[in-house]
């Protein structure tokens, strides 16, 4: 059984369709990428998978269960999410990590907080007691990953988790996330605008055009390094002309 399954999902925002009849299945331990530029509505699909946005009933399934039949607070624990901007909550790093369990009235033992911080390579002694407001961008993003892991999720939704970070921090976060996939079998659904990143970390890549699935293929197949980044990105967004550089932008008539 697939961990996440989407069946005929259509979604409109402000009267205009964002997703049209999208169906896909994501397997356990997979890194499933969706790449595309900002403004392509690529977050909407992700936000439906943990009910941050409401999908129509019978369109999104987690371990075979229609997520709209379960409480949102329960789905959010099983399907964690990391955002583009790492929003730190008031308090210490430890408070941040323990936030999810605390909202359910549970206290996360300090050993578990340290263990989670270790898992995201934040192993300086005393980091748990540090004020969360003092962290660098890369450290803060690590805390948001540890914070999501505290809920013991099966899936992590990653909404451009490295786009606010420098290249070194980006590579380090990628390593951490892939390490988590290998160590605890975490499934990653990853939205990115970087073709390079998709090549480095992705198992499969989703190609949507105007909200419709055009193709789902292995990252190697779809993002051939022989293709330039720009053309690969255009292709990943369903712009067929992207494959034929000479035709691009000629009579395509699509306003960007």
């Amino acid at each position: 059984m697939s961990v996440v399954e989407v069946r005929h999902l259509s979604l409109s925002r402000g009267g205009s369709p964002v997703l049209r009849d999208v169906s896909l299945a994501i397997e356990k331990g997979e890194v499933f990428m969706r790449i595309g530029p900002s403004g392509s509505g690529k977050s909407s699909l992700l936000r439906c998978l943990n009910r941050l946005e409401e999908p129509p009933p019978g369109s999104v399934f987690f371990n075979g269960t229609d997520i709209t039949t379960r409480p949102v607070t329960e789905i959010c624990c099983r399907v964690g999410m990391v955002f583009q901007q790492a929003a730190m909550f008031p308090g210490t790093v430890g408070d941040n990590v323990a936030y999810g369990p605390a909202m359910r009235g549970e206290t996360l033992p300090p050993e578990r907080v340290r263990e989670l911080l270790d898992m995201v390579a934040l192993d300086d002694p005393g980091i748990a007691e540090k004020s969360a407001a003092e962290l660098s961008g890369g450290q803060a993003q690590r805390v948001t990953i540890a914070r999501a892991l505290a809920n013991d999720p099966a899936v992590l939704l990653l909404d451009e988790p490295t786009s606010a970070l420098d290249p070194i921090a980006t590579r380090a976060i990628e390593e951490t996330l892939l390490g988590l996939r290998d160590r605890i079998g975490l499934t990653l659904v990853w939205v990115s605008h970087l073709v390079d990143q998709a090549r480095r970390v992705g198992d499969r890549v989703l190609l949507l055009n105007e909200g419709r699935v055009v193709r789902i293929a292995s990252a190697g197949e779809m993002l051939d390094p022989e293709l330039g980044d720009e053309r690969a990105l255009a292709f990943a967004n369903g712009d067929e002309a992207g494959l034929n550089g000479d035709q691009r932008g000629s009579d395509h008539g699509r306003a960007e």
Partner: protein, 270 residues
Amino acid sequence: MDVLNELGDALANLNDLPRIGLALALVAIAALISRWQQADLETDLLTASVRGFVQLIAVGYLLELVFNQDSPLWTTVLLLVMIVIAARTSGRRGKQTPRATWIALASIGVGSVLTLAILVIAGVFDYVPDAIIPIGGMIIGNAMTTASQVMNRMSDDLLEGRNQIESMLALGATSQQASLIQFRRALRNAMIPHIDTTKTVGLIKLPGAMTGMILAGASPLEAVQLQLIVMYMLVGAVTFTGLIAAYLTYRAFFTGAHQLKPLRPLPDAG
């Protein structure tokens, strides 16, 4: 016919017009200064002065009528009209808040009525128009400011803190847990000015009710005692109204399934 007779009597009571005219001279001076400094406020000043005059004289007559009727029904009707006007005014201020007028109506209405009810039941004031209307006016006026402040502060903070709130929701927090910071901040923001006023009362300026009573010939001690009642009751009214407004505003921003409603188009909409 009674009503007409009373109106006639009331007209005869407009014997302070010369003094009002003299006070108006200050507005004329202000207009001259505005013209001299090219502040371009003469028309505004004129409109405001005329409007203020007509409004207050009309209210004066209305109050004369209601006071002379001395009927609980008319008193109640007037209070309700005041609440509706306050709710509409406040609702127009809270543009970003969904259903702002209804939130204002509910919070101002319940906050004011509750405060008045406690005062009347406790026997602090009788339910007679010459006590209830001015006291109600003060309560409703303050409740109105509070409702606007709470709605504005909270909707600004909820929109601004969207990222943090959604991060909390994504960790399994309920909408109430995720908006707790904004809820508390809005409530504190509305209550602090009243608490500060209560702390420094008399030291910085004499409050309105007291000033009015002293001008009307009451002894300072009498005035002070009434002012204390007014201050305490306003703290109560502001707290009730603020609490209800904050609760309803938070509810208006979330779905029943703990999702923050997309009010503005999200950055990646498309």
